[in-house]
């Protein structure tokens, strides 16, 4: 394959070809190593390879060992050695931080990658008081390490694969062989193989590609940053996907109730946990129905109130120029803006935004009779209830569904609120997440009682 000549060493053709393809990137390094009879070539990208390791593991021994044969044997026994891929994928491997080494016309690929994102982060999205305080990192290997270290069981299987998009990211499929449902695993793998997407950036967009439907309101998977939630779900027979470069994992399939589980529940005493769960469901109901209920009751059936309350509400609405549903919509938009603003702003300023928005504007709005006092209470209650939902994506979905319910209420009154609420429920019941029903009451041997059918 290659010509061998004394003096100036010539790299093998393949290496020249590869180097040519990588040019004109400035970080391409093609280094010949030569001393006496020994000769080898290195090809790597400087920016993704750990230089110190390269020096210690490859270059130094090359000059110390007596012959090429010794060096080759040494290299072959290195733990960093990875399987040689096909020629086409070699370039991808190089960009990942692997080093191509040629000794005696033999090609060896060594994993000497430098990852700067393997620090384990603090939990920020799903904080708990009693649970672990550390989340995942942005490196796939570190993440697998974190999970392995918490789940010492040989039945935990980790399969890695590479996406075929532009980023060629590695992803890992984790599952517990003993409890995972085979059909789900098969469905997930099939989906992954069929995946045809231009670019995957993170777990967030990756999970969207996993769902079939384009227009969805409710999340089909859970994205979590907590290793304990991952373990909790693995033991529950679920499949976990990790994407390289993303500090979040994807858990699937999900049922609706998963979104209302906070890991804190596991760490509390029975009654405390049950009470907080109950509280969360109450918050859920408040958050989606209250704006609708306000409109329905004030504008359609005020006789539902107690007399005193009806008079109070009527009194507080004196001078408000808009019908109730515009009032609610106005305040809801306002509160959404406030939430959105405090997410986007730097942490130092966001507190100011909430104060200005929540306190000052709220008071001013009632003073100016743009909205009633009761309305301010309703909206604040709704906002707070939304924050109680432990998984962020679900609280986003609920923010939208309450608008639907608000519409249904301003259209059909009190009956509309109930019907709209039931409509959301039956919609969720009819949904599926990777072949598993989305919402249904969990009970023992339910599969035996009524089998599913696919019409």
């Amino acid at each position: 394959m290659t010509k061998k000549s004394q003096g100036e060493p010539t790299p093998p053709d393949l290496m020249v070809e590869l180097a040519g393809k990588l040019k004109p990137s400035s970080d391409v390094q093609q280094i010949p190593l030569q001393i006496e009879e020994k000769q080898a070539f290195l090809l790597y990208l400087k920016t993704v390879v750990d230089g110190l390791q390269l020096q210690n593991i490859v270059i130094k021994p090359f000059f110390e060992l007596s012959s090429e044969r010794h060096f080759e044997a040494y290299v072959n026994s290195l733990p960093n050695k990875v399987k040689m891929p096909a020629k086409e994928e070699l370039l991808i491997e190089l960009t990942k931080g692997n080093v191509l080494l040629v000794i005696q016309d033999r090609f060896v690929l060594l994993d000497l990658r430098k990852v700067n994102s393997d620090t384990v982060l603090q939990t920020t999205i799903e904080p708990t008081i009693h649970g672990p305080q550390l989340a995942l990192s942005e490196s796939l290997e570190t993440n697998i390490n974190l999970i392995r270290q918490r789940y010492h069981d040989s039945s935990l299987k980790i399969e890695t694969m590479q996406l075929s998009d532009q980023s060629h990211r590695s992803i890992a499929i984790l599952y517990d062989e003993k409890v995972v449902k085979k059909s789900i695993l098969k469905a997930v793998k099939k989906k992954l193989n069929q995946l045809d997407t231009p670019l995957v950036q993170s777990s967030g967009d990756f999970q969207l590609y996993l769902t079939d439907k384009k227009f969805t309101l409710f999340p089909n998977t859970i994205i979590t940053e907590r290793p304990d939630r991952i373990i909790y779900n693995l033991t529950g027979g679920k499949v976990v996907l990790l994407v390289d470069g993303s500090p979040h994992s994807i858990v699937l399939p999900v049922v609706f109730f998963d979104f209302l589980v906070s890991m804190e529940d596991v760490y509390h005493a029975f009654w405390i946990a049950k009470l907080t769960i109950l509280l969360r469901y109450i918050a859920l109901v408040i958050c989606i129905t209250l704006p609708g209920l306000y409109v329905a009751v004030t504008s359609y059936s005020p006789e539902v109130f107690r007399t005193e309350l009806a008079l109070t509400v009527a009194g507080s609405r004196i001078g408000v120029p808009y019908p109730s549903f515009i009032e609610v919509l106005f305040m809801l938009v306002f509160i959404e803006l406030l939430t959105e603003a405090s997410i986007r702003l730097p942490k130092a300023i966001s507190a100011t935004a909430t104060t200005v928005g929540g306190l000052i504007l709220g008071t001013a709005v009632t003073e100016a009779a743009l909205a009633s006092n009761i309305m301010i209470i309703v909206v604040s209650l709704v906002a707070i209830s939304t924050f109680v939902i432990p998984v962020n994506e679900m609280s986003y979905s609920m923010r939208i569904s309450r608008l639907f319910l608000l519409g249904y209420a301003s259209l059909f009154g009190l009956a509309g609120v109930i019907l709209g609420f039931l409509g959301i429920i039956i919609y969720l019941v009819n949904r599926e997440s990777f072949g598993e029903p989305y919402l249904r009451i969990v009970a023992k041997n339910r599969e035996e009682e009524a089998k599913g059918d696919n019409k």
């Binding site: 359609y300 249904y408 009154g413 109930i418 919609y427 019941v429 009819n430 009682e449 009524a450 059918d453």
Partner: protein
């Protein structure tokens, strides 16, 4: 039997409160309502037992499949057609009565079309769901609203204004011969078991159905029938109950929660029974759609690998529903429902005949 079987029966038992059944029964209160109730209870329980044990022998199969397999076409097709119409009407009855209720008591100034739209949009989606999802939705609806209904009944029973002397006066009319109208109306409460004609498709395991299960159904049924008939009498009085169009609305409006969030119990009643009515309409119409679908299948209506025959049925259902609801008066509603209830024995007879036919076919 499994849970879903009880749900089907329970939904029907509860829905009977908001259909014209109480009105028809109370009309007959000075005649043979009490005896009719007792006879209907026994007959209903017996039919429940027969139908349940029959379907238990063919796990995972609905009536259309069984009929097609074991009986000749000239029998199975008309039978299924008749049944699907009956189920459609059963759903329609609940729909119309409840629409009238909402119009009169919740949003009196609202247009009837708007009330119907709000209900039918959701119901149409529900009807087109998978059978399995219908069962799951029913479970969730019951889970959410049964506590409210139980609370409501407790409030009714412990209300100091409930005068038991009136109830006893009504009971003392046990010495009258039963009437056919009252009998068939109360039989309606027990029709829930017939929902197995479709839902048995999902019950693939052999179930145990013995005395214990029958007693459970019997006790619940007896309690609900008793409540349906006697509680309104305790609140509205025995001598003036005939004039009341919606006895249960007047009854619940007579209960007061002194310290509740809502003072007037009637709104809790309307809200929780709205949910139950929705579940009932979805169940009945789902069965009707499936039954129709088993005899009529239009191949040309394919669109994106999906057959749209069921959608067509639902659209027809909705149009007929809206037309009838706007056309009927309350008086006609009561008259036609009496007529519908009167034909229930035919439905049962047909069901029994087909069961016998299937059994024979299966044996040979």
């Amino acid at each position: 039997m499994n849970r879903f079987f009880y749900y089907l029966i329970l939904v029907n038992l509860i829905t009977n409160i908001i259909t014209p059944v109480p009105r028809i029964l109370l009309q007959e209160s000075k005649n043979g309502a009490v005896t009719s109730l007792i006879i209907a209870f026994i007959v209903g329980l017996f039919l429940t037992y027969v139908v349940a044990t029959f379907f238990n022998k063919f796990p995972g199969k609905g009536l259309p499949e069984l009929l097609k397999e074991y009986t000749p076409k000239w029998f199975s097709y008309p039978t299924l057609f008749y049944m699907s119409i009956m189920w459609y009407v059963a759903g329609l009855l609940t729909l119309i009565t409840f629409t009238f209720l909402l119009l009169r008591y919740l949003t009196p100034q609202m247009s009837i079309y708007i009330v119907l739209t709000s209900f039918l949009l959701i119901a149409a989606y529900g009807v087109l769901m998978k059978t399995r999802s219908v069962l799951d939705s029913t479970e969730i609806i019951l889970f959410l609203f049964i506590p409210i209904i139980v609370f409501l009944l407790i409030e009714a029973y412990r209300s100091p204004e409930l005068n038991w002397d009136f109830v006893k006066v009504a009971m003392m009319h046990v010495n009258h011969l039963p009437g056919y109208n009252a009998f068939t109306a109360s039989l309606y409460a027990f029709i829930g078991v017939a929902n197995l004609v479709i839902f048995n498709r999902n019950f693939s395991m052999k179930q145990k159905f013995g005395l214990k299960q029958l007693m459970l159904i019997g006790a619940t049924g007896a309690f609900i029938l008793f409540t349906t008939y006697f509680i309104p009498i305790g609140f509205i009085g025995f001598d003036s109950i005939k004039d009341i169009i919606y006895p249960w609305i007047s009854t619940t409006d007579s209960i007061r929660m002194r310290l509740g969030v809502i003072e007037r119990v009637i709104y809790l009643f309307l809200i929780s029974f709205l949910a139950i009515a929705l579940a009932s309409v979805i169940i009945h119409w789902h069965i009707a759609v499936q039954l129709f679908g088993s005899i009529i299948h239009i191949k040309r209506l394919n669109w994106k690998e999906k057959n749209l025959t069921h959608y067509l049925f639902v659209i027809i259902f909705l149009i007929v529903g809206v037309k009838l609801t706007t056309y009927l008066t309350e008086y006609q509603l009561i008259r036609y429902s009496i007529f519908f209830f009167n034909t229930l024995p035919i439905l049962y007879a047909l069901l029994l005949i087909s069961m016998v036919a299937v059994k024979r076919g299966a044996k040979s």
